[in-house]
Symmetry: C2
Subunit: 698 residues, 2 copies
């Protein structure tokens, strides 16, 4: 993990490219450092020397008298790398490169950027940027950016891959009650990546939630495991653009980054515990809740409202979010009934009625928060004629302070709640205008709180009964033959080497051998022409099923060879494959898609010929996959209901399915040359399973 | 349609229950009328007479000297009906009953309310309420409510079934740039329903979009057709609470209304063209767009942004929304390239870059809006150091005024855009903070604009080749037998009478008759024990398939009867049913769920034993169903891909599927006593189809 402490808590900052000309970046940065309260030394660096904004300017970084913890570079791109080298020579460890004109402008810039990266590595400099708007730390305080506004202080860290979006958000936050610990403009990520920043922020005491706007994810050989460690320490919420295919195309032309598939991103985020959101609004709605409220212990929610309809809307949203409406016991219900009057509702959602005075809110808050089963509370206030928003806010704060449970307030309205919202947020209570937002935020908190229950067992890495050499030999032969697709018999041999149950399929090159193999397997068998060049084997009489004797096998061998020759006189088949005919079972598919960025992604779902139509498939990345994740992957499909025994049928051997998933994961991790793999169908029986058709492409 | 004009444009208003005591509802209403600018006569009515807020008070409505267009009632509930009667006697036509204490408080109140409804009908009074917060019309102006705030003027009408939520929204609107034409608190809907209000508002020149918060829908025998007419005239956006099962339970305890299923609401809204939203925020986000911008001519969208990432987020959201990213021709691209500079993007989304001056926005706006294929434009502005929000807003307004196309602006930020947002909204340009919201709003506008292309043909009502009497006779017999479930042979006869292709199935009561029927149908046939009391027919040897001769039929008849007697000595079977064995085809299901509120809802989807697992089903309400809707219903399922001929298979006879849907709709509309109907499977062939298993329950 990189030590970025001095990046955000420097005792001295040098600005290379500092300027006396207002409006220039080199001026704004020095100005921001001074005016936004940085208390350490500020060293403007400018070849002309002199004084800049009242500070002595030095011609070169080497001339600066004291130790410099952080360098901010704003000089034009052709001069940046020289300056970086000089910084390296004087032992600079942290740097922000504001200068643009690198990778984002094309080939020439990309070359410069590669040099920059190399210099950073050579001299051990942590480089944020280039093409960054800078960084801010509201606790230091440090405004090392050319943003016109220092973000309000708070405990939410914000990492943005877009400078413009970062400025927009800082502007917006001023009126939204959101405060930031650090705001970081990533720029082109030539040095420090978002992964390294997340690792650093996860240990940062001034930060309790991290939100990110990202356009690409930096390469990490073991992303899921790296990020899992980080994302379990602190809530990380990510808005990743380019989720659509058109968006991905636009993003790639915008960032120049070649990205993995969105499905792989989704899977990687999910497996590592990063929360992905779909909109900018959600990014901040969730961030607000995490930054203010404690985590709930469970998913039991109570609602107190002065508008019955608002309560119903909240319940609607909760059901979609999988949150649970607490039921109170008789004693508490009776007490609540007394409190909310005859016409109110003492059942959750608790309706204190439109004419509720403060005391009615206060009493029901105390009863509800004191109820053991209540893990969190949503309080809703409509500004009815008799409502006292400030008084209610005070009551909420008082009651909330007695209990360590998250309380989220929905103040439905505008001007009537301005003071109440400020007071509530200052006292650790997130507030929203609409009930659905509150529920979305609470859903995320419950989800994060549950991360700690998850178990990771490195189940794929622990598989040791595989014969890697056998597979290597098969692949070598396929490559030597100039093919990229394995024959069925070869695929079977691969499956066998990796412990994947499959219907035996072997290659015969004579009628006698076919009969021999068939007898070994036991009848009935299927005979199939073996050739990667003949595509529609059934159509040319290349497949015969239900062969039940050695005699029949011999005759069929000859027949198939003859049929193939007749249809394709120019193709020399590899022989005839003999496959044992299996009883049919529940059909599932296990497959692999290799993602450019995240490696093998294992698919599981309903098998058969309508796989693409039914689309009952779920995914896990092979690397870092856990037993629990495999179980959830299976459970998230509809076919799992069939495996469990649908409508009184006997349950199937799900352990076999898990084995198949694990072993395909292990196989595709061990052999990066496998570009495609599909097993469809696997017949799953009450006991055991059998892979019928295994397609492997190198 | 009710004439509600004088309700909202009265020349005189009487307040029964007017009071001199500040804080009382009868005081607030008179005060609001006076202070919010109502220019007509105001007549306070109070038994004590005297003067109220400077106006002469009259002891009784009968004492009021002039004609009264609108009466507002605030006296306690026990006195309301007497007052209403008196109003009726002096010819009052419009009334708002503010008083609570009716249906919402239980049985006693419900009785009062029923009387109130009856009086309204007897005297021809349009009654809004009771338990209403009142009504406002910002154009009249009329504040006939006890809301503390008169909503800002605008052209959005808002109907709310919750008073508290209405107040909340008015409060919120003050800072959100939203203006209202009319705000109506529905109350208990004892007189005027939301349906009647929607019909009225659809003709109201001061209203161009209607948003509704509803907890229940009033009964209308022909809801889809009634609302379709209205919803095609003007955009209607509805947030209906109680969409979840827990929410529906909470809603029913809150409103006392017995509601139809949420699926039926969804279907009814969809078929009538009402736009349903899921959150309060969306209700207003959409409303804002419709209230400001003209409708787009199509779904081709252009984006201009000064933040590449924001453009990508917009494209992501557009793809989900089904909107289309315009591609510019070479000439325009070249011009755009010149405008956005070398580093900008001339491809949609057009990136004018973070340093874009106003002129760059202006020029690209002109090029893009002038491009024929562009139906609408999203302009995004981040407050970068060089951005001039007010200047950009001015440029947008200027360019927008040259073209009749919707322009939606995303001003990403807070304080920097306050003036710009005001200016834009005043000039017919909706503005949002985040790009996803803009896309959601645009999606709704495109959808609404397309309503006018829809065709309605009353296809169900036009079916005339059905034998209603035959079906009635069968049902009478079933009822006379004391059964509620039809035998297979009876269901077949029903299908035959309504022209639904089905595999013949007939009842035999002797071995000879069984053989005779089988010969008529042609072999092979299936024999099945006929009894609604024997459930698992196969298990007891009550079903025999593949009977291929008269002899076999006779023998099998006896065998089945014997098996049934052995298994259920106490049950006397109705005989043995003979069904023709059909070739198998693509399996589909056509079924009917009868909704309490909306009547028969026709289901179509993938058939077979896994219907409930696969859940590939879509719905249409039978009443008002059109041919186009049936086509869309079929197309929205996955099985439609199989019917079209999946992967080179021959296409199936989709016309037969349409017929089945239509005829099931007609049958279940004609016979309300059918409580359940399921045909699963229907085999669909290349030509023709055959319903295999028809279940009808009365």
């Amino acid at each position: 993990m990189k030590d970025l402490n001095k990046m955000f808590k420097p005792e001295s900052v040098a600005v290379i490219g500092a300027s006396n000309t207002p409006g220039k970046v080199g001026y704004i940065i020095v100005d921001n450092l001074i005016n936004d309260g940085f208390e350490g030394e500020i060293y403007p660096v400018n070849p002309k020397g002199g004084e800049i904004l009242g500070k002595t300017a030095y011609p070169n970084i080497k001339d600066v008298p004291g130790k410099v913890d952080l360098v901010i570079i704003t000089i034009p791109s052709p001069f940046v790398n020289t300056a970086v080298k000089e910084c390296g020579e004087v032992g600079i460890e942290n740097m922000v490169v504001i200068t643009a004109g690198f990778k984002e402008v094309g080939e020439e810039g990309a070359k410069l950027e590669a040099e920059l990266t190399a210099l950073g590595e050579e001299y051990g400099i942590n480089i944020i940027g280039p093409n960054s708007l800078g960084i801010t730390d509201s606790h230091t305080p440090l405004n090392g950016s050319f943003s016109q506004m220092m973000p309000p202080t708070g405990n939410m860290a914000f990492i943005s891959q877009s400078g413009a979006m970062m400025v927009a958000i800082i502007d917006w936050s001023v009126t939204s009650g959101i405060g930031f610990s650090k705001v970081i403009s990533l720029g082109n990520k030539a040095g420090v990546s978002e992964i390294e920043l997340l690792q650093y922020l996860a240990e940062d005491d001034e930060t309790n939630v991290i939100i990110c706007y990202l356009e690409s994810i930096s390469d990490d050989d073991d992303f899921v495991r790296t990020m899992r460690e980080t994302a379990h320490k602190k809530p990380i919420i990510v808005l990743k653009s380019g989720s659509s295919s058109a968006g991905a195309a636009a993003a790639s032309s915008h960032t120049g980054a070649l990205a993995g598939s969105d499905l792989a991103f989704d899977t990687a985020f999910h497996q590592s515990g990063i929360m992905r959101v779909e909109t900018m609004a959600e990014l901040f709605d969730l961030g607000l809740a995490f930054s203010k409220a404690p985590l709930p212990k469970g998913d039991n929610v109570a609602i107190i409202t002065n508008a019955g309809g608002g309560g119903v809307l909240t319940v609607d949203a909760m059901e979609k979010a999988g949150l649970n409406l607490v039921q109170f016991d008789e004693e508490t219900t009776a007490k609540l009934k007394e409190c909310v009057t005859e016409e109110g509702s003492a059942k959750n959602p608790i309706d204190v009625l439109g004419d509720a005075p403060v005391i009615r809110y206060k009493e029901s808050l105390e009863l509800v928060l004191g109820y053991d089963d209540v893990d969190s509370l949503i309080v809703m206030v409509c500004p009815t004629a008799s409502a006292d928003p400030d008084g209610i806010a005070e009551a909420i704060i008082e009651e909330k302070n007695k209990f360590d449970k998250p309380v989220i307030v929905v103040n439905m309205g505008g001007p009537s709640f301005e003071d109440a919202n400020d007071a509530l947020r200052e006292n650790g209570i997130p507030t929203y205008v609409f009930p659905e937002t509150a529920v979305t935020a609470l859903e995320a908190m419950v989800k994060f709180a549950r991360l700690e229950e998850r178990e990771y067992d490195d189940v794929i890495e622990k598989i040791d009964d595989v014969d890697k050499d056998a597979v290597k030999a098969i692949f070598d032969k396929v490559k030597a033959d100039g093919r990229d697709t394995l024959l069925g018999s070869e695929a079977y041999a691969v499956a066998e080497a990796y412990g994947i149950s499959a219907a035996p399929i072997k290659l015969s090159t004579s009628a006698d051998e076919a009969a021999e193999l068939a007898e070994e397997m036991e009848f009935p068998v299927v005979l199939k022409i073996a050739s990667d060049k003949i595509l529609h084997k059934s159509d040319i009489g290349g497949v015969k099923v239900g062969i039940s004797s050695a005699e029949e096998a011999k005759a069929t061998y000859e027949e198939i060879i003859a049929n193939a020759k007749a249809a394709h006189p120019d193709i020399v088949p590899d022989g005839v494959e003999v496959q044992k005919m299996m009883d049919s079972g529940e059909e599932v598919i296990v497959g692999m898609i290799r993602d450019k960025q995240f490696g093998p992604m294992i698919a599981f779902g309903m098998g058969g010929i309508y796989v693409n139509l039914i689309e009952d498939v779920s995914f896990n990345l092979a690397k870092g996959m856990s037993s629990q994740e495999i179980e959830e992957q299976i459970a998230s499909t509809k076919v799992s209901k069939l495996l469990e025994g649908y409508r009184g049928e006997a349950p199937c051997d799900v352990e076999e399915v898990k084995e198949a998933i694990k072993r395909v994961a292990r196989l595709t991790l061990d052999f990066p040359e496998i570009s495609e793999l599909d097993i469809n169908p696997i017949f799953v029986y009450e006991e055991g399973s059998s892979a019928l058709d295994i397609k492997i492409k190198l």
